[in-house]
Symmetry: D2
Subunit: 331 residues, 4 copies
């Protein structure tokens, strides 16, 4: 019973169907009909004009988005526990040609205007210090916590006031929107570029980089190719994304994953280290308790010495979820 990662989950049947429906040769790279449909599809969905590029991974999506905002001599403000800092093998340093990540603090891996200001206010405005050029926030955060639209708005306001770009790592954007119950465009209002994740939510290998600055997208197309991320059979990536957007399948999938996490969380409210707002549960539990859970057939990651990370997927099986909830309650 797998609660290790939504990364490893199965591909949604509708995605398989859409991919196979795209099998007949069309134009290579992103010249095909499906890839060309993305801009208007996302513009409709998000209610703001945008230009959209597919890539295979969230790391590529984040880094190409940031490359549109940050020169090699600049910096990105992000949370100390942000994925781009902790788990992307230094990809921002590669894609941004040596630009820096400035680490800020905030509860549950969410940034706040105060946390951001604390990180950047001490920077002297002189050539000896690396100057910030962008802020990156994660929706939902690395601890499965969701920025409310007004929280994003305040960060966007700060970004604007300081002349910084605003990037949203939306590897779990779907889970955040499902939680908020708002229009998708509200969950990323004020953002300049959004990494809109599909792989963790029923896709196979396709993420969307949504540029609300259309000229930025034009330039990043060169960067995508230069990074080896312009796949020649790109129609299969576009097909995945479109299939998940169709009939709001992306939201249904995210709701299913969120519901599974909520079910698990509800049995052990006192053990929760972070509010469970998306599809991740961080649970205080001892090594012995984790061993007991594993002995009962559940797989998951340890989180430090005293906690476990449980991640639910769009295809979480009810019986697995129920079993896990019971096992936790019984600890």
């Amino acid at each position: 019973m797998q609660f290790t990662s939504d990364n490893a989950a199965a591909v949604h049947p509708a995605v398989w169907q859409a991919m196979m429906a795209a099998d007949a040769a069309d134009a290579p790279y992103d010249g095909d009909a499906l890839s060309r449909a993305l801009d208007s599809r996302f513009t409709d969905l998000l209610g703001r004009e945008c230009a959209v590029l597919w890539v295979a991974t969230g790391t590529a999506a984040n880094c190409l988005a940031l490359a549109s905002m940050v020169p090699p001599h600049g910096a990105v403000v992000c949370h100390r526990e942000a994925h781009i800092e902790m788990d992307e093998a230094g990809a921002p340093g590669f894609y941004l040609h040596g630009a820096k990540l400035l680490l800020a603090d905030g509860k549950s891996a969410k940034l706040t205007p105060d946390g951001i200001a604390a990180a950047i206010d001490p920077i002297r405005n002189d050539v000896h210090q690396v100057q910030p050029h962008a802020i990156s926030i994660t929706q939902a955060s690395e601890y499965g916590c969701v920025y409310r639209p007004e929280e994003v708005a305040k960060i966007a306001e700060l970004a604007n006031a300081r002349g910084l770009g605003l990037h949203m790592d939306g590897a779990r954007f779907a889970n955040a929107v499902a939680f908020l119950g708002c229009a998708p465009g509200e969950a990323c209002q004020g953002v300049d570029a959004l990494s809109f994740g599909f792989v963790k939510n029923g896709g196979l290998g396709a993420e969307a980089i949504v540029f609300f600055d259309v000229e930025a997208a034009r330039i990043i197309r060169y960067r995508r190719k230069r990074a080896g991320h312009l796949q020649s059979k790109g129609r299969f990536l576009a097909a995945q994304i479109l299939a998940l957007l169709e009939h709001d399948l992306w939201l249904a999938n995210a709701r299913a994953a969120n519901a599974a996490a909520a079910a698990i969380a509800s049995t052990a409210p006192s053990r929760l280290l972070h509010a469970v707002e998306a599809n991740e549960v961080f649970l205080a539990c001892t090594a012995a308790e984790r061993q007991a859970l594993r002995g009962a057939g559940f797989t998951f990651y340890d989180w430090g010495q005293d906690a476990a990370r449980l991640v639910t997927s769009w295809d979480a099986k009810d019986e697995h979820v129920t079993a896990l909830a019971r096992a936790i309650a019984a600890l």
Copy 2:
């Protein structure tokens, strides 16, 4: 009737089946059983110990392979018309952190020891000039011409004598092996790293980087992740590759594509600009002739002012090939 690119062709049914068979969640990234099977599978196939990484594109494969050989202050010798020079958007400059491509000449985009020596002999051995660290050859070449094992051996000998690494861009390695009729390992004997292409040959989005230097592979795993090319559902890439290797499907596909090219070429031997040894036909023909062909329903690229490039795929339809051959003969 599409003769534009093997890049745009359909995915082989066996590849679809293998991917769907891999749908059940396994370990993320390359920890799954399929990915872990690659090293031994290729070691068997090529008859030399190797370590293998999948990536989605040939550009990423080439650049990561070269990154194992060339420091940022070094250079790669390649043909003036090599894909890494002409069509990868400067990706080598990105992946190699500013290293240089040294352009050499040679018939039909094939390098020779003499051509390589002419490019590197004038380089003074001092710090003012960028020193070569590797040679990259393309099997089959950008003009669909195939290095004979003894030609590769001579280049490998030169590489050895000069202390240079040897990379083979095998985007169409399958077509080369099909043409040579030799063991696959013979077609890349002496090479340090091989980009073994599958996308043009029935795959969806998976290429193999074969490192004959196993320690190099260990390091490049970091580089792959750092480049955003470590897909979280990597089992689907491994599945493609393994499916194409199974029962030598890769060779059957390549033979089909080669045969289609040969059939087309045979009708107009006097128009051929390069020997047709793989799945590409470069045909002298006027603008009017090209218009005639297009009028008859064939799509392809112009190649300069006076030529056309016709590429055949693993799934080339007999009736299309026959129709094209006739149309050319009738010009």
Copy 3:
């Protein structure tokens, strides 16, 4: 009798005096009075508003100038024998983060609009090919030949029409102006950034990067520091430059060097491989003849198998020049 390089010549006494006059501590880096005087000094000299940064070397000057024009995914058009291509150890690849040099042809290492167009016209305007963002020309060229103002104007016109920046490597700008006899601003009219050389012309270790785009200079100040080129005792670099500009000492020095080259050239007009317009003489002569010259006490570089490069300096001694002229005449 040294005719190897103007790089190795002595420092002009006025430069020593100015440096020692700047010895008393002032603000560090470029906050001192001398560094702050550069902008207006060069604006006066060149008749166009500009912002000026000192650096120690021509390589740093060229690369920082180009960094203001060319993104990492772009390219610079330069002559196949340009210093940035041949003799800067790949520094443009380093400073431009992997951007490419596109090599163009032209007589005596001078570019022409036709030569530039021949290099860039074949580039398809798509993401697979690296797009040019700037042109770099060398005044005087690597063969000591000088662009006439109207030649620069035509290249500037082309740059404008194509949306490219225009950089001038003026390592020997002084020699070019001395030859042209025009106002210095005329010799670089239409240029966006000029590497104005002083080291080869009586300086110790200071070159000026002249940005006619003042905002570009603001950004490059960060890049200069990031490259380790913001010296803490920058007043000594500014002092060198100001000393050489004072009373047009830079022109007097260049005239002296040019005159020496002209004197040498005049004795062997039939041997000249390039017009002698600055302080370099490229002379057809056999290995035996070179040996004879060396036997007579002259030092210089071979230039390939059949030529010698003779470079004169601001402090060329009349008797050495006369001796060399005679020795050549006597060959």
Copy 4:
């Protein structure tokens, strides 16, 4: 009365003399007799075989030294307040092609084995996280505190055990050695590369990078040129360094600066924020007190809200030092 920075101090007369004595043309770059003398001079001084490159700045020295140890996908452990992190404009990111700085804690900006371990132990040994490849320590530290030989030895031991390189930023190495009273080689025992500073200690614009790994130096010569730091009149940099080494002038200068700092510190022991072991005094004092000092004619930097940084130079005038000491005592 300047206590702002040793960076801005005058050049020692012996340095001027040595530079002028080197005026006659010699070989360009580092082919001159003085540059060629450095290896053996430092080998004698430090009692270990080494190869030495000059560069103009400490930033270039640090980054080129680190470039010999850290691949683009790696990291350097340094103190959170190290110069390479705080004041070099992201130069390590540039020179190391995007490698990361891992920030560790320690009193008075000195690292300890425990502080280093705390920074690197949590790093999982997998491709998702950037792995450390080197440690960089500053001798004397950014707060003017000196590593005892046994402290360096313990860090070197840790570096060895973990397979990490060890770099010492010795911008104020002279002050550290003067404080320790030991042989210079003892103050950097176990170090792989040392940035040996001269600019803050009576030089004009020359630092030495001392590589105890001679092969590393060979490679970094290419990197130096590629960074535009190979000055053509390099003999003037070598001359500075040799002049300061002659008769241990470097130590005499450092002792003078240290003595001045000690004199200032002795008047206000209760205000000292860090032990005064080199030529920097960090003094607790209010804004009003700082204003009073400035009113009395002293210049220096604020250090946050409640402190001042006072730096003494080799040429600190006794009457200035005495005046400052009295003014502080009188606060």
